[in-house]
């Protein structure tokens, strides 16, 4: 009790920036980007103000689920190097305040989406928030090594919500954009977890390398990479992407598979090896020497997904024709 009192008097007060950090701005920016691509790729005229409101609602909804995640996961976050500086585990924001912010922003974003755009988009947004905050955060994350595979759906839905916001429907091409992110998530996250598994182990989170070992994780990354790349190229054959998309997705797929193959053949995630940065200052290659292949795939996966969606966005904004294959 005495310690708690001493802590509370010395703790830094919450600044507005701490509440902003609860919304995971970096995740939000990725969500905005993919949702915008879905909205534009729908190729339906929309009032620009309503389009901006739709994107804002999706961004705020994503931020709200981030706040709910940080409220519930404060105990896990406190044990991991990457997350222990977050506002709740660091003691700058009370858990109850993070919960309140998450619930209020969830309600506001869904209601505004429904009233300003349509209730299909609002329903999808509500489902995404609940799926991330409840199904993934409260259940899957602590329970199964398939947590990020199933939970990846929450991160994959924003382009569908964007599409639904302007059309009120969710055609196959919208779900194809969802499938690309969904299939991309396992190789992306498992590559990261190969060199951060110590942290997950410490926190008791059953990430794949902790549960199945590094070798099995590398094999599964390779399998998911083989499954993911056809999805990445598919929009070029479904009337969604054009020549530029085919070139970017095809060349990128080759690089992705090459990096995934090198990771599969590597010793990434195995015990032993020296940390390049023993002081743990968190540099770009602050990983065990053998895990560079994992870091390479992780870094390229971000670039590849960004390129795929950026190319689609540019093609549709510029009015470039889609490939007519069939």
């Amino acid at each position: 009790m005495a310690m708690a009192t001493a802590q509370s008097t010395t703790r830094a007060p919450a600044r507005w920036q701490d509440f902003l950090q609860l919304l995971k701005p970096r995740v939000m920016s990725l969500v905005v980007f993919t949702a915008l691509t879905g909205l534009v790729a729908a190729d339906q005229p929309v009032n620009p103000i309503l389009g901006a409101v739709a994107i804002l609602c999706i961004a705020v909804g994503a931020g709200a689920s981030g706040a709910l995640n940080m409220w519930y996961d404060a105990d896990i976050d406190a044990k991991m190097r990457r997350t222990r500086g977050r506002p709740v585990p660091a003691g700058r924001v009370q858990g109850a305040d993070a919960l309140t912010l998450g619930v209020v922003l969830s309600l506001f974003s869904v209601m505004l989406m429904g009233m300003a755009l349509n209730w299909v988009a609002a329903g999808l947004l509500a489902f995404t928030i609940v799926f991330y905050a409840v199904i993934y955060t409260m259940w899957l994350k602590r329970w199964t090594a398939q947590n990020i595979v199933i939970g990846g759906l929450a991160g994959a839905l924003p382009p569908v919500i964007g599409w639904a916001a302007v059309t009120g429907t969710t055609p196959l091409n919208a779900w194809l954009l969802c499938a690309i992110i969904f299939m991309w998530t396992p190789p992306h996250f498992w590559a990261l977890s190969l060199y951060t598994s110590e942290d997950y182990q410490k926190a008791g989170v059953p990430m794949m390398p902790v549960v199945a070992g590094a070798s099995s994780t590398r094999r599964q990354i390779w399998i998911y990479s083989l499954l993911f790349t056809p999805f990445a190229i598919a929009p070029a054959f479904t009337g969604l992407g054009g020549v530029a998309y085919l070139a970017v997705s095809g060349l990128g797929a080759l690089v992705f598979l090459l990096l995934a193959w090198r990771l599969y053949r590597s010793k990434a995630g195995e015990a032993g090896g020296q940390r390049n940065d023993p002081e743990g200052k968190g540099g770009l290659y602050d990983v065990r020497a053998g895990a560079k292949d994992a870091r390479n795939l992780f870094a390229f996966s971000i670039l590849y997904l960004a390129l795929l969606f950026a190319t689609l966005l540019v093609e549709h904004l510029a009015g470039l024709p889609a490939l007519e294959v069939f």
Partner: protein, 50 residues
């Protein structure tokens, strides 16, 4: 010795920042609802039977 019940300058500054951010957020929300109402209803208002 300072009074523990009294806010320090840092706490006052942080509270002020939070209040301003909240006020801006609420003002933005009001403007947003107003603009969305105009956009959604504007065309229908002029087209309604008199």
């Amino acid at each position: 010795m300072s009074d523990p019940a009294r806010e320090s300058d840092v706490e006052t500054k942080a509270r002020r920042g939070r209040n301003i951010a909240l006020a801006l957020g609420l003002a933005l929300f009001v403007v947003l609802i107003f603009v969305v109402t105009l956009v959604r209803l504007g065309a229908n208002v002029t087209a309604r039977p008199l």
